[in-house]
């Protein structure tokens, strides 16, 4: 009782306690808050979520020039409509007078194609199907060099439908666009290089015995003639940097058997998987961080000439080369054996055409460039004077890459948002914020361009978005290890604030007691 009376007599204690509490709450907590919040740039979480849940599809416009039986057209529309990631916009028109003349005057498929490509202008990303008059003497389905497909009205619907689907997008790429995880159990999926904005292509000539053979090969001319046109064509889709080198005194450690039947050294298929391990260290792949593709031309040793790869059934492989998925390709170039009394080293010239054809074959399978080789009954025309790709091949590649990019960007940004959300005190610098905003904007643009069928714009936006999203994700400050998790916050701040707050809270009791006393006193009075 006396204590309460004492308290009632000196309210200063209560005022002091109240003062402490006020200072603690009004000044202390805000100061602590402002000095310990980390800088987190604002990220567009909701936009990322909305864009992630949007289904994406490519739009391809297909114009049918000529007249097809209506049932054929309907069936074609129906079977093309079942393709999930691509929506086809079919339209039809009659051929103009010049086109009709060209159709009737063309004798060979090449001539016809040349005339028609000049007359019919098909925009990038679209296709046109030209119906040929019955009298023409060519195969049922012919694919031209510039986005034109020539069919006869009697063509097989399945063939036409699969031709269009394969031209538009690689079937694996279209499945990939819909799954999060890559298709592991498909050999073809594991063959393609991962989709990146740039690759390094290295041509390596391996000469294990330079004291016996002096190889003369003008690599620069070969690359300029065969590879540079393709590289230039692919510039917007994927940047390829081409280098070449010669490796002396390095050989493949293989043990071929002399085959009496074929009169050459046979290298069985089962020895191939381990061949490149020994030379990988010497190829210089450790210099750059872009993914690299290696194409190796191997000149066999003198005592193993001529060397041919044998397939599993024992027959020699005519191309004498093999592809290593995601890595590159190796080809064996046999040189004629030395005559007995010739002076060493003897000069040998290499066949550039064969080498570059093999290199380009491998490149086509690695990138991958869509091809219609598996479909029967189709004749595909290639470019006549150069090794360049046809326009539809370029479109198909671009479409596959855009799908892969869109899927990658979604995964990267979603993962980034999750990481940032989990660790609430992770610093998000302006740099990272800028990249994420940029990536999201370009992603949106790319999605819109894809839906509207503007393929070149889509490729450009997607590449930029992918680069920015990756830069933000792999930024060194995004490491979760650097920031302590939430539950450790208590361990840090409780020992600081508890010793101060306990006396204040206890003395607040005194304040409340005083308030109640004064209110009861008033009530009593």
């Amino acid at each position: 009782m006396s204590k309460e009376e004492d308290n009632a007599k000196n309210p200063e204690g209560a005022w002091a306690a109240a003062g402490f509490a006020v200072v603690l709450l009004v000044v202390g907590v805000p100061v602590w808050w402002f000095t310990t919040t980390v800088y987190r740039a604002q990220l567009p979480y909701s936009t990322i979520e909305t864009l992630s849940s949007q289904l994406r599809h490519h739009t391809v416009g297909v114009t049918i020039i000529g007249s097809l039986p209506p049932s054929f057209q309907e069936d074609l529309v129906k079977s093309l409509g079942s393709m999930q990631s691509v929506k086809f916009l079919m339209s039809q028109r009659q051929p103009t007078k010049e086109e009709r003349q060209a159709l009737h005057s063309g004798k060979t498929p090449d001539e016809l194609d040349r005339h028609m490509s000049q007359l019919v202008r098909v925009a990038a990303g679209m296709l046109a199907v030209v119906v040929l008059p019955e009298a023409m003497e060519i195969k049922e389905v012919v694919v031209g060099t510039d986005r034109l497909i020539y069919i006869k009205a009697t063509a097989d619907l399945q063939v036409v439908s699969s031709v269009v689907r394969n031209m538009v997008m690689d079937p694996l790429a279209s499945r990939y666009a819909f799954t999060n995880r890559p298709l592991h159990h498909k050999k073809e999926a594991m063959r393609q290089v991962p989709t990146e904005p740039g690759y390094d292509v290295t041509l390596t000539l391996m000469v294990p015995e330079p004291h016996r053979t002096k190889i003369e090969w003008d690599a620069r001319a070969a690359v300029t003639d065969y590879l540079s046109p393709v590289v230039k064509q692919l510039e917007n889709v994927s940047k390829l940097t081409v280098r070449s080198q010669v490796l002396y005194m390095t050989g493949l450690s293989v043990s071929p058997q002399w085959s009496e039947a074929h009169k050459h050294y046979a290298l069985p298929e089962n020895q191939l998987p381990l061949t490149i391990n020994a030379i990988e260290a010497k190829l210089g792949s450790f210099v750059w961080t872009r993914p690299s593709l290696h194409f190796v031309v191997y000149i066999p040793r003198e005592k193993q000439l001529p060397l041919h790869i044998h397939a599993a059934d024992g027959s020699p492989l005519p191309s004498n080369s093999f592809l290593v998925p995601r890595w590159g390709g190796v080809m064996i170039h046999n040189v004629p054996t030395a005559a007995p009394n010739v002076s060493l080293p003897r000069p040998v010239t290499l066949d550039s055409h064969w080498i570059m054809s093999t290199v380009l074959t491998h490149l086509h399978r690695l990138l991958p460039i869509p091809s219609l080789r598996e479909i029967e009954g189709v004749e595909t025309l290639a470019m006549k004077d150069s090794s360049m790709l046809t326009a539809w091949q370029l479109d198909g590649l671009a479409r596959a890459r855009v799908s892969a990019y869109l899927s990658n960007i979604r995964i990267t940004l979603q993962s980034l948002c999750e990481l940032v959300g989990e660790i609430s005190n992770m610093v998000i610098s302006d740099e990272v914020g800028g990249w994420v905003w940029g990536a999201v904007e370009e992603w949106e643009e790319c999605g819109r361009a894809t839906r509207e069928g503007r393929l070149q714009d889509a490729t450009l936006y997607c590449t930029r978005s992918f680069t920015q999203a990756d830069a933000a994700f792999f930024h060194p400050s995004m490491l979760a290890l650097l920031y302590f998790p939430d539950n450790q916050k208590y361990a840090i701040y409780v020992p600081l604030f508890l010793p101060v707050s306990i006396p204040v809270l206890l003395s607040l009791k005194m304040v409340f007691g005083l308030c109640r006393k004064s209110s009861t006193k008033e009530k009593n009075e």
Partner: protein
């Protein structure tokens, strides 16, 4: 043993709710292997099951093998058998038994320093030698070692590190490529390496440039405790951080499969918190047990190698690049009577059957090659250049006959 404790060995699911849903396949469960995996002694079980309509279940024949086919929904699997039940469980010839990776990487980490931890350096360098011998190139091996053994003033054989008292092989060698040495072996660098969040100026040899087709072998050795691994005597990495790093790798598709081997005390605690798929973890000891070292070299004066790594190396020495030895054999490499500690294995995150996975899929580098059957038919280009080529080749060859001389070593400035 009730169904919810069955480990997933090949396809199938964790039976967490008490029922095992299986796909269309033939499943035979190797209970012995399951028992080893779960570290519980195997006794007799009782059996009771319910079938969905249309399913067939062959009754357990006298030899006690249970064979489950097609859509079976088991309420509980408790079988009673007089002798050891061999119920083999495999998914027939599934496509998961095929190789699914395109390249191989190895991350070998030794987390301790100082002379008395010689054996950890010998452990990791021996693994490095095996992995290199089996084909993985240096550009795809990340070696993190404090590297203070070979040139240590206490080393009676300077510039060498041995892993055996007979001192047959110098595992340090002349071509070892250490990527992170000395004080660079830190937890932060390790996690940055795994997640890829390195400073832009990091050279390529210090980056883990894996993609979604890479199989990664991660080997860690040092001193560990319950839930952590000590790095260089000054910091530690916890199992939660390691699990999060792997999850970040999985989300960005930076690996196909990981084989995680850890040779420390209480090593099994490090893989407890893993939750990303396709990881097979092997630990040299369980929680509460110590991993012991193998033998001391009286000439050097310290323990030379740890038991688990010693027996693992014995196994790996018999593996050639084209060998057909499987991971299941590798898992049996250190039984309790020689290792003294119990080897712990975590198989539930790994979808494939270890008896179908070759050791070289992680330790070696066997590529899938495809023979090129058809070459593109390209037109001959650069016809006008042929003459020019011959000319330029001739001029070049004449230039090449000029005598060669050494460049001056020190640039001399003529005044």
């Amino acid at each position: 043993m009730r169904l919810q404790e069955l480990a997933m060995i090949d396809g199938g699911y964790w039976a967490q709710t008490g029922s095992l849903g299986v796909g269309e396949a033939t499943w035979r469960i190797n209970m012995e292997r399951v028992a080893t995996a779960l570290r519980s002694p195997w006794h007799t079980l009782g059996a009771s099951y319910t079938l969905e309509s249309g399913a067939h279940l062959s009754p357990p024949p006298p030899a006690c093998s249970l064979r489950i086919t097609a859509r079976v929904r088991l309420a509980s699997l408790v079988t009673s058998c007089p002798g050891p039940l061999s119920v083999v469980y495999d998914q027939g010839v599934s496509e998961t038994s095929e190789k699914t990776h395109t390249n191989n990487w190895a991350v070998l980490v030794d987390t301790s320093r100082f002379w008395f931890n010689y054996r950890h350096v010998a452990n990791v360098l021996s693994m490095y030698r095996s992995v290199k011998r089996l084909g993985i190139p240096d550009s795809q091996i990340i070696l993190m070692v404090a590297d203070d053994m070979a040139c240590n003033p206490r080393n009676p054989r300077p510039a060498t590190v041995f892993n055996n008292a007979h001192q047959h092989i110098n595992v340090y060698g002349e071509d070892v490529e250490v990527d992170y040495r000395g004080y660079e072996v830190t937890v932060e660098n390790f996690v940055r390496l795994l997640t890829g969040r390195l400073a832009p100026s990091t050279p390529r040899s210090k980056r883990l440039l894996t993609d979604d087709g890479s199989n990664i072998l991660i080997y860690m050795t040092g001193h560990g405790g319950d839930g952590f691994l000590k790095f260089q005597d000054s910091e530690e990495i916890t199992n939660v951080e390691l699990a999060d790093a792997f999850e970040q790798m999985w989300q960005k598709k930076r690996y196909n499969e990981i084989l995680f081997i850890i040779d420390t005390c209480q090593a099994a605690s490090m893989y407890e918190h893993f939750y990303s798929p396709n990881i097979l973890a092997i630990a040299s000891s369980l929680v509460g047990e110590d991993s012991l070292s193998h033998h001391v070299d009286p000439a050097i004066g310290v323990y030379i190698i740890d038991r688990f790594t010693y027996y693992a190396l014995e196994f790996l020495e018999r593996v050639t690049p084209d060998s057909k030895k499987t991971l299941a054999q590798f898992l049996q490499v250190c039984p309790k009577r020689v290792c003294i500690s119990t080897v712990g294995v975590r198989l539930d995150l790994y979808k494939r059957d270890p008896s179908r996975v070759l050791v070289t899929e992680f330790f070696g580098s066997v590529r899938n090659v495809e023979l090129t059957t058809r070459v593109l038919d390209l037109p001959k280009c650069g016809g006008s250049r042929q003459v020019a080529v011959n000319k330029s080749v001739n001029t070049r060859s004449s230039k090449a006959t000029k005598p060669l001389h050494y460049a001056s070593q020190l640039p001399l400035h003529h005044s």
